[in-house]
């Protein structure tokens, strides 16, 4: 079988050698990715960072018309107890034409707890904290770049592209919520 050790292609190409080159190249590329991946992955959130993922809060502390700011995952969360007038206004605006990300107020609150709005208090434009009760829609206003949110946290005017984010949360017992 000695003659089969070096098999010449009709054009004179050593196909086995080509195979070895390609296989070695592929192995080197694969090894390169395997080396880089742990490095890239090390920059993802660490386990202890991810562990700080839930927080509990009793919403009965929030008086009508008031807002409380709590921290969750290093970010501010607004808990706002809206007045009947505010609630009426945001529901009337459910189908307003200037909604950039159309959502009804019901989709943003929990059934049976309609006045209580829970949103991440970080402007969806560049992350500033919007000011409470100001702006053209009586919700929040981000003074940095002029984004106006209504009392449902929906973006109505300005550069922000999205509504204030409603985090995952649920009412666990009565008025207590667990975020995350």
């Amino acid at each position: 079988m000695a003659e089969s050790v070096v098999t010449e292609h009709p054009e004179g190409d050593a196909t086995r050698r080509d195979f070895i080159h390609i296989a070695a190249g592929a192995a080197a590329a694969g090894a390169g990715v395997m080396v880089v991946w742990p490095l890239v992955n090390s920059m993802n959130p660490a386990a202890d960072t991810l562990a700080l993922s839930t927080v509990e809060f009793d919403t009965s502390k929030v008086a009508e018309g008031m807002q409380i700011v709590i921290t969750w995952q290093g970010k501010p969360v607004f808990v706002r107890n809206r007045t009947p007038a505010e609630l009426q206004r945001v529901i009337a605006d459910n189908n307003a034409s200037d909604l950039k990300e159309p959502q009804t107020d019901q989709e943003r609150t929990k059934e049976g707890h309609e006045p209580m709005l829970v949103v991440i208090g970080s402007c969806t434009h560049l992350g500033c904290i919007p000011t409470f009760g100001s702006g053209d829609f009586g919700g929040w206003f981000c003074p940095c770049h002029g984004s106006h949110y209504d009392a449902s946290g929906r973006i109505r005017k300005g550069p922000a592209p999205k509504n204030l984010v409603v985090p995952e949360y649920e009412f666990t017992a009565g008025s207590t919520i667990r975020i995350g």
Partner: protein
């Protein structure tokens, strides 16, 4: 220059031994004897000043790092300890902080110099592109460094700038979390920012070496903007040393005097008072502003009423510099001989300053207080928002419309045949001048 013959003759035994193994002394000697156009003016001294700036930043930064703690709970206090307790720490920190501003003053003058004299044109495109890479790395490094003291502006600057990444469609959010190392700016972010802030200056140093390599391969431009013919090289060039080492040395001393005025008499004039308040993730400063040298780009970001659009415009404002050599259609390099383009250039400089001014103002504030205004699209016409938009329009028009168009349409002045001619004969006598097309043979 590329054709420059080495004239170095090793004299001592050590030099001879070294020259056949690592000709590093020869490299330095050749650099100093480099034939340099003899008409370089003081705008050309900023290259040397920038080298000094980089050395000052790296040296002062290394010593600051010895006393700095990259931890969210300790960073602010460690910086205050440097200011109060570390021997001479206040000096090193003020030199480092104001040094960044000095670096940017020098780099902007250096870039405008290159723009005015057409230093980006063939055969010097690589010098220009590498310079743009350095500029981009400088911006990144300065931003990362500004975050480290973990004051209010540090924290919120990091929040705003990293949020730009979130504007990228689809992958924005996961990439943002990956960059920050968590759901919000936190200890992981501070740690990696410190690591990268220490790394990037050495990367800049590497690119500076490439920048100079390209410069010495293609040869230096000069205020007249013409190539020096081989046969005139002896007449039109002088050795870099002592002529330009002395000239640069004098400019460096003047520059250091300005630097010293800031460090010793107004060390916080270019900073923001809010950065002396420890970072508070639950409270935004009344007005988030970047350092002065980023204001024009920040203004462009705010001018666009769309998050992703604003990010694209801001990076585009820096990115357009990279393709500049191919946007300019003129065959004449120096704007000394381009009367029309010179006017547009001066407006461009003014627009850059206006953008910087706008970036420091609240977007809705009126430019002329008390003047009645009307609403145009989504903002009052008499507001910094609209002034910024008009300036942004000119910024991009300068590169994409004015440069290609004026280059084709304008009639340049007659360019001299040699760089000595304008000096020796004066502007009135241009008998030996050749038309602009002669530049082609370069």
């Amino acid at each position: 220059m590329s054709g420059h013959e080495s004239t170095y003759v090793p004299k001592t035994g050590i030099e001879k031994w070294l020259d056949t193994r690592l000709p590093i002394v020869r490299f330095g000697a050749d650099y100093l004897s480099l034939p340099t156009p003899k008409n370089l003016n003081y705008w050309y001294t900023f290259g040397g000043i920038l080298t000094l700036c980089l050395v000052v930043q790296i040296a002062s930064g290394i010593f600051l790092a010895m006393n700095y703690t990259p931890n969210t709970a300790l960073a602010f206090a460690s910086v205050e300890r440097i200011m109060r307790d570390v021997n001479g720490g206040w000096l090193i920190r003020y030199v480092h902080a104001n040094g960044a501003s000095m670096f940017f003053i020098a780099v902007y003058i250096h870039m405008l110099r290159g723009l005015y004299y057409g230093s980006y044109k063939a055969p010097r495109e690589m010098i220009w592109i590498l310079g743009c890479v350095i500029f981009f790395l400088m911006i990144a490094t300065a931003f990362l460094g500004y975050v480290l003291p973990w004051g209010q502006m540090s924290y919120w600057g990091a929040e705003v700038i990293t949020n730009l990444i979130g504007a990228i469609p689809v992958v924005g959010e996961p990439v943002l979390i990956w960059l920050r190392g968590g759901p919000a700016i936190d200890n992981a972010t501070l740690n990696r920012f410190f690591s990268l802030h220490y790394l990037l200056p050495f990367v800049i140093f590497g690119v500076v070496v490439l920048h100079l390599w390209a410069l010495h391969t293609a040869g230096q431009n000069n205020p007249v903007g013409i190539l020096i013919p081989k046969e005139r090289e002896a007449k039109d060039t002088i050795p870099f040393h002592p002529y330009y080492t002395v000239k640069d040395g004098f400019a460096v001393i003047l520059f250091l005097m300005l630097f010293a005025v800031f460090v010793f008499f107004m060390p916080n004039a270019l900073g923001h008072a809010d950065n002396y308040i420890p970072a508070n993730p639950l409270q935004t400063p009344a007005h988030i502003v970047p350092e002065w040298y980023m204001l024009p780009f920040y203004a462009i970001l705010r001018a666009i009423p769309d998050k992703f659009g604003g990010v694209v415009a801001m990076f585009g404002a820096i990115g357009v510099l990279f393709i500049l050599p191919w946007l300019d259609t003129s065959k004449v390099r120096s704007m000394r001989y381009r009367p029309t383009m010179k006017v547009f250039f001066l407006i461009f400089v003014a627009v850059g300053l206006i953008l910087g001014w706008c970036g420091a103002q609240l977007p809705d504030a009126p430019v002329v207080p008390g003047m009645p205004s009307f609403t145009l699209i989504d903002g009052k016409l008499n507001s910094y928002l609209w002034l910024t938009r008009l300036a942004t329009l000119y910024y991009f028009a300068f590169f994409f419309v004015i440069m290609p168009f004026v280059g084709l349409k304008e009639t340049p002045l007659k360019i001299p045949a040699s760089i000595s001619e304008p000096v020796l004969s004066g502007p009135a006598v241009m008998s030996g001048a050749v038309p602009a097309d002669a530049e082609k043979k370069g």
